[in-house]
């Protein structure tokens, strides 16, 4: 058997098409695995029910309302165009508020009050702004209806 193979070259199975396909598959799987995007985190720590010490100063409290169409209100005042996910005005105002309460030695507490029909994306936009400003004390309240 083996002797014949060494004599007649045509007797071998032609592997070229198989190798072509195998390489295609390899490239396909390599590309699809790297394309899958990694999800990132946007964390919220829910307030605990622990009682605060009676002498701890009250935090500066601000309310952010999110209406059903994505309009964001800071303490009742409209801030940004609902079409703008970056919320630049909200970001600037919150940064100033945070800096002034930091100087006064107070914590900044934000209470987000999304409408029941507000999309998750609008809530995430606000959380994103809070994250970039560096506000960690966040609480969720009932939305305006």
């Amino acid at each position: 058997m083996k002797a014949r193979r060494t004599l007649i070259a045509e007797d071998r199975v032609d592997l070229t098409p198989m190798i072509d396909i195998v390489f295609l598959l390899l490239i396909y799987f390599m590309v699809t695995t790297s394309i899958i995007k990694e999800e990132a985190d946007l964390g919220v720590t829910l307030p605990s029910s622990m009682a605060a010490a009676s002498d701890s100063p009250l935090p500066e409290q601000h309310y952010i309302d999110i209406l059903f169409d994505g309009t964001t209100l800071l303490n009742g005042m409209p801030t940004d165009n609902p079409g703008n996910p970056e919320l630049p005005n909200l970001k600037r105002t919150l940064l100033n508020l945070k800096l002034s309460s930091d100087r006064a030695g107070l914590k900044t507490l934000i209470i987000i009050q999304p409408d029941s029909e507000a999309f998750q994306q609008s809530v995430v936009n606000v959380l994103n702004v809070l994250k970039s400003v560096g506000i960690r004390s966040i609480s969720f309240g009932e939305g305006l209806n």
């Binding site: 390899l26 946007l42 964390g43 829910l46 999309f119 994103n128 969720f140």
Partner: protein
Amino acid sequence: MKPQRHTEEGNDLPDLTPMIDIVFLLIVFFMTVATLQVQELIEIDVPIAADAVIPDDRSARAVVTIQNDGALFFGSQPISIDDLSAYVEQAREADPKLKVYIRADAKVPFKNVRKLFSVAAEVGVQNVIFASFQSNK
């Protein structure tokens, strides 16, 4: 010189067997990796947040997914909101440092997410994480 010898003696072809072996191994590797990644997560349109961070450590997470029609999943298993607290409770008992990882579709109304907040608060899990993509590319 070379082409002539090829046609005369089959033995002269390079032996492709080891290469094919390795290529097959690679294919199997990438196939399993790809299917593992797909199986883990229910498909949704994750909201976009530029300042979110990709975590190093994804342990101790109860993954809860809400699709934009309101369908709820604990891990990859469909579940109703009433059963969810029992599952989260169980997971929290197994790991007290449990965080609830909420994968909500960008178009989910907040009322559905609020229910998950109450489940987390009820069970005593204080860390809630929202899934997001850093960019829409």
